[in-house]
Each structure stands twice: as C-alpha cells, then as structure tokens.
Symmetry: C2
Subunit: 192 residues, 2 copies
C-alpha cells in the first residue's frame, strides 16, 4: 500500500498542529496560525483536516490506536506475565518519547473534544486500559502475579504516561530501560 | 492571624481563574473574561493579582508550597519508611482531589510560566521530589526498603499525580484509600 500525497500532507498538518497545540494550547492556537505554519490557505487546510477539533481528534486518536494495535500484537505473543507487562510498558514509553507533543496535547486537551469524537477517544483509551487488565489477569491465572485491585491499572498508566512531562531521551537512558526500571519496582516491590 | 479582605478576594480570584483555565486553557482565557467571572473591573483585578501570568503562578505555587510544608511536617514525625511513604501519598492525593482544577492547570500550563516565576515553581517541585527521595533513603538506611534508582521517584509521583485526570472522590473510595492501594502495590510488588 503506497502512501498518497493526501496522506503525507495530512500527516504533516497534524504533526505541525501537535507542536503548536503543545506550545500554545489548543484554545490558544488559531486555524489561521496553523495554516501559516504549514503554508496552506484556509481551503487547502480544510481539505486535509476539516476543522481544528478534527485535528485534535486525529492527534489524540492516532497515538491511542497505535498503542492498541501494539498491545493486541504483544498480547498475542504468548509471553509470561512479567515479560508481557514489560513489553507493554516499553512500547508505551517508546511511543511517548517519540511523540511527546502529541501526548502532551492528548493529556492536556482531550477534554476539549466533543460528541462522537470525544466518545471514540475515551472508548479507545478504555480499550487500552482493558489490555493492561488482561495482562494482569493472565499473570494472576498463571500464578505469577497476585490479585490486585482493578484501579491499579490507572496507577501503572500514570507512572508511564507521566513521562511525557519530564522524560527526554538523551541517549543515556532509553525509554525501554526506563520502562524496565519502573516495572521492576512495581513487579518486585521496593520492600527490602 | 486574621485573613484580610484583600486575601479573601485574592483567593477567590485565584480559585475562579483555576476553574476557567482548567476549562478553557490558560491561553484560551482572557483577563477580561476573568474579571467578568469574578465581577471585578480591570483595575480591581490588577490590584488583587497583577497579571494573568501572576495568577497562573499563584495557582501552581500555592499547591506545591502546601505539599512541601506537608512533606516537611510528615518527615519530622519519625515514622517508619512504609508509613512515611503512605502518609506522603495520602496527603498528595487528598490535596489533588480537593484542588483538581488547580492541579490540572499546574500540570497542563506550568510551561507557560516565564523567568523567575517559572524557576521558582520548578525549584519548589524539585524540593518536593527531594522529600520523597529522603523518605526512600530513610527506608533504605533502616533496612525496610531496598535501594532503587533515583528516577523511580518520578514514577511514583506519576502514579499519584495522574489521579488529577481521572479520580473523582465520590464517597466510595477516599483519596487516602487510593493512596494506600497504590503504595501497597509499590511497596510489596505485584508478584505472587
């Protein structure tokens, strides 16, 4: 399948929009400003993205969809619970590190989405949380993990998602190594 | 010490601003809009808060300062490391639950701060992280906790801070109980 010019241009508009929204806020960025940043007039911009809210939706949904596809693939590998959780965490931290602007916009601004777009992003997020629950449940069934409260998934995702705020991959520590550092504490505990 | 009318009015302006910034973004909220919401003209508003950035600074700094004072007080109680960590977490989750708008604004918008204000908020945040490190170090020294990487503090705070995005205290689960749920997983691990 080849990528069309339309897809390339649309992807560029969304990437530039993510940078602008991350820097100046969704509400603080005008559609005209986005047009100037990508060198497109109002008509061309509309052709690629439709509306400002449609861009916010694309920024948010694309990354969550990618994480869902990745989680489905990892869950199908037949890994032990320990390695399964680590792989989920590694993939998420790698994606956040590679798309910091998109994740910053998603976490800060998804509340600005309305109607179906909002519902779809929330549903996709819940699906992602569900995959983590599946991984934890699999660990309990196989006897590797103890039973923990369902809300713990929110804590694990908080630990990982929060990296968008502070983690800059600078070569010293890869996102995958950071994921292992966190998962090691979580799986084995910090008790001596 | 009595609270002056000035302090009461200033506190009200800051609380209303937090709600507006949380709903419409810092960049998406005008100073005139804030004035209308609190029923003050430009001059009176200026008297209480000075500038929009000064409000963002107050919203962010007040909560972080409160958490620093709380951490200092808890660290002085001579608690065991396990209970010390739990108390730090309980206090943070209670504060986030009671000030969701302020924390949402802080996490989303502190990047909009500039100059000294920015430096001071970042320094206060680092002080807070330092208190968590002290608590972990104390646990290692007393033999209760194992030595863990310094970056783990960022993970623990992510787990806790992220609650501003999803946790609504509705009477079923108090923030303190949620803190214990997370800390139990972290301290004891999820391994069977």
């Amino acid at each position: 399948m080849t990528t069309t010019t339309y897809e390339i241009n649309r992807g560029r508009v969304i990437a530039v929009a993510a940078e602008l929204f991350a820097r100046n806020g969704y509400h603080g960025t005008g559609i005209a400003e986005l047009g100037r940043a990508v060198g497109l007039g109002r008509g061309a911009l509309y052709h690629y993205i439709g509306s400002k809210e449609a861009v916010l939706y694309a920024i948010s949904k694309d990354q969550v969809d990618k994480m869902n596809s990745y989680a489905e693939e990892v869950l199908d590998r037949g890994l032990d619970a320990d390695e399964l959780l680590r792989e989920l965490a590694r993939g998420l931290l790698r994606n956040i590190a590679d798309h910091r602007a998109e994740w910053a916009v998603f976490f800060r601004e998804y509340n600005a989405l309305t109607g179906d777009r909002r519902d779809e992003v929330i549903a996709a997020r819940e699906r992602y949380e569900g995959y983590w629950r599946q991984a934890l449940d699999r660990g309990v069934r196989s006897g590797v993990l103890r039973q923990t409260p369902r809300l713990l998934v929110k804590g694990i995702l908080g630990m990982l998602n929060y990296t968008y705020l502070w983690f800059t991959p600078d070569g010293e520590l890869a996102p995958e190594a950071l994921a292992d550092l966190f998962l090691d504490a979580l799986i084995n505990g910090i008790h001596s």
